[in-house]
């Protein structure tokens, strides 16, 4: 195990099976959108449009980013939580609703997102070997940095501990509300952007709030970005900024991982594709 290596894991989508776990989120979010455009929950036309957008996203992930405050900050294809936002934009556009970008971001990204995310909390669905992997990391300098609510993720870990005893130690290491999607152009702590072949827009790196979370973890561990290993399921959101600052990064893949993200990480000297969670301890700490 490296003497100063610090591991930071993303959680939702990285340790969990976001597609299965996110179904109540998706269904509830769509029903709320139906009402918001003046239709009844379950409206056929709204659901058909959602299916159409999902198909488009799958066909061309680089062309359909997740927008935050009107800016492209992540691919929208990787999990249902991100995917729902461009779907919601298309639905609101179709019915000419919530046209102000700030109001809309507040509605979609804050209220509807968190409200429907809560519907997934009682029954987390983990990826294969998630429990065993987290148990194997016991005693290591490992933290979790998540966009989600701290207590929500800690609750999922506590539930996992019932099936795989020995992971509860991580509940105190969760750092929530990381706002990995939030870009602050005025913050000079990272290069402005990164060019990723196959993606015709820059990957924005000035994610000040996320950096502050990572910085606090590193300070607590007495380490720097060169000692950091970050593992997540979305390169642009979880990995790009720490990679630019010297960290090693592991991209946990799924069938929905964009090909350009996969190729970029595979070719980077400090990057690693992770198809099997049980390889994470060895990747991070060399054991």
């Amino acid at each position: 195990m490296g003497t100063r290596t610090v591991l930071v894991l993303d959680f939702d989508g990285t340790m969990t099976d976001a597609e299965s776990e996110g179904r109540p989120f998706r269904d509830g979010y769509l029903d709320d959108l139906c009402v918001l455009v003046g239709r009844h929950a379950g409206d056929d036309e709204v659901h058909a449009l959602a299916a159409e957008v999902e198909a488009e996203l799958e066909q061309a992930p680089a062309s359909h980013p997740f927008l935050w405050m009107g800016r492209a900050v992540a691919p929208a294809t990787v999990d249902p939580y991100l995917r729902m936002v461009p779907i919601a934009h298309r639905i609101l556009d179709r019915w000419d609703a919530m046209k102000d970008a700030v109001d809309r971001s507040r509605l979609l990204g804050s209220v509807l997102y968190k409200y429907n995310y809560a519907k997934t909390l009682g029954h987390p669905v983990f990826r294969a070997k998630a429990g065993e992997t987290l148990r194997a990391l016991a005693g290591s300098p490992t933290w979790i940095a998540t966009n989600s609510d701290t207590h929500a993720v800690a609750g999922k870990i506590a539930l996992l501990d019932r099936d795989v005893p020995g992971v509860a130690w991580l509940t105190s290491r969760v750092r929530g509300y990381a706002k990995k999607f939030d870009v602050d152009d005025a913050w000079p702590g990272a290069p402005e952007s990164l060019v990723v072949p196959g993606l015709d827009r820059p990957v924005l790196l000035r994610r000040r709030e996320y950096h502050a979370i990572l910085r606090a973890i590193l300070d607590e561990a007495g380490a720097g970005f060169e000692d950091l290993v970050v593992v997540g399921d979305i390169f642009e959101l979880d990995l790009a900024m720490p990679l630019a600052l010297g960290a090693r990064v592991g991209l946990v893949t799924s069938a929905r991982t964009p090909a350009y993200e996969r190729a970029f990480v595979a070719s980077h000297p400090r990057g690693e594709l992770i198809d099997d969670l049980s390889t994470i301890p060895a990747f991070a700490f060399g054991v």
Binding site: V35, L36, V37, A97, M98, D103
Partner: protein, 280 residues
């Protein structure tokens, strides 16, 4: 706009305990529900009076008992209804008790509920609120120092506030409620809510009143748009989970949770007073 005023419509006048066992009838029951709503975060309670058998009443003595029972339990701000069945003269006397706020219906409309399966109306009437009545109510409210809550079921109702402002019967910040989803009024959607909000003069305070379970998504839209929210058993029996609420307090608690998710915070009674009656 970071503070959110939560209002709770405790009982209404139409539904009964057969529809929802938690609906309060008597002054004590209504006051107990007011306390539960206040404890959960409501700053204002909107009150219709009922007889002990649940039938609606405009008897001033009943309203007085309700006010006394509420004041004995909590400092929540009281909002009397003035709308619904009965001649205007019967619906104005209780304003002499000087609640903090009173509802003021701002226009006439068809008011109905359509049953698609039976292809007939569940109910269907003309909700008549002439300008003469609106002005008379507003005069009574001004006389008693009551803040009118202008209830607007459609855009024309919202626009009609200009008459009251011109007559000096309402003072800024104006206080609007946008009721969404009544057949005959404006449809329930985020687009229409935003349009209603645009009609209110800058600096006004407005809230959404969603009917039935649609209340929750509309509350989310209001929170995103900078508005306030009303919940309560008069409007909706069901929690976001789909369970029937066991009290108004449960509905207010659910609304307070939405406020938290939105990044805003619930206004206390004192903060609500500062917002609705700002001191120079």
């Amino acid at each position: 706009m970071s503070k959110v005023i939560l209002s709770c419509a405790l009982t209404g006048a139409v539904t009964t305990k057969k529809h929802c066992p938690a609906i309060p009838y008597t002054p004590v029951e209504i006051a107990e529900e007011a306390k539960r709503a206040y404890d959960a975060g409501a700053a204002i309670v909107h009150v219709h009076a009922r007889n002990d058998d649940g039938s609606p009443t405009w008897a001033p003595a009943t309203f007085q008992r309700i006010m006394d029972e509420i004041k004995a339990r909590c400092p929540v701000l009281i909002n009397w209804s003035t709308g619904g069945a009965g001649p205007m003269q019967e619906r104005v006397h209780h304003l002499a008790q000087r609640p903090h706020v009173a509802a003021l219906n701002m226009g006439s409309m068809n008011y109905a509920k359509w049953n698609h399966d039976k292809q007939q109306f569940a109910f269907n009437f003309v909700f008549a609120n002439s300008f003469d009545d609106i002005v008379a109510f507003a005069r009574a409210m001004k006389e008693h120092g009551i803040k009118p809550e202008m209830e607007c079921f459609d855009t024309g109702h919202t626009n009609s506030h200009r008459v009251l402002a011109d007559l000096g019967l309402i003072q800024p910040p104006f206080h609007f409620s946008f009721i969404m989803g009544v057949l005959g009024g404006i449809p329930a959607s985020a687009r229409h809510l935003a349009f209603q909000a645009e009609q209110a003069p800058a600096g006004s305070r407005w809230k959404v009143i969603g009917i039935s379970r649609d209340q929750w998504p509309l509350a989310m839209a209001a929170l995103a748009l900078g508005g306030d929210v009303r919940v309560g058993l008069e409007d909706n029996f069901y929690l976001p989970s789909g369970e029937m609420a066991k009290s108004n307090g449960e509905l207010v608690a659910a609304a307070a949770q939405l406020v938290k998710l939105s990044g805003r915070s619930v206004a206390s009674v004192d903060e609500t007073k500062q917002i609705l009656w700002p001191q120079p």
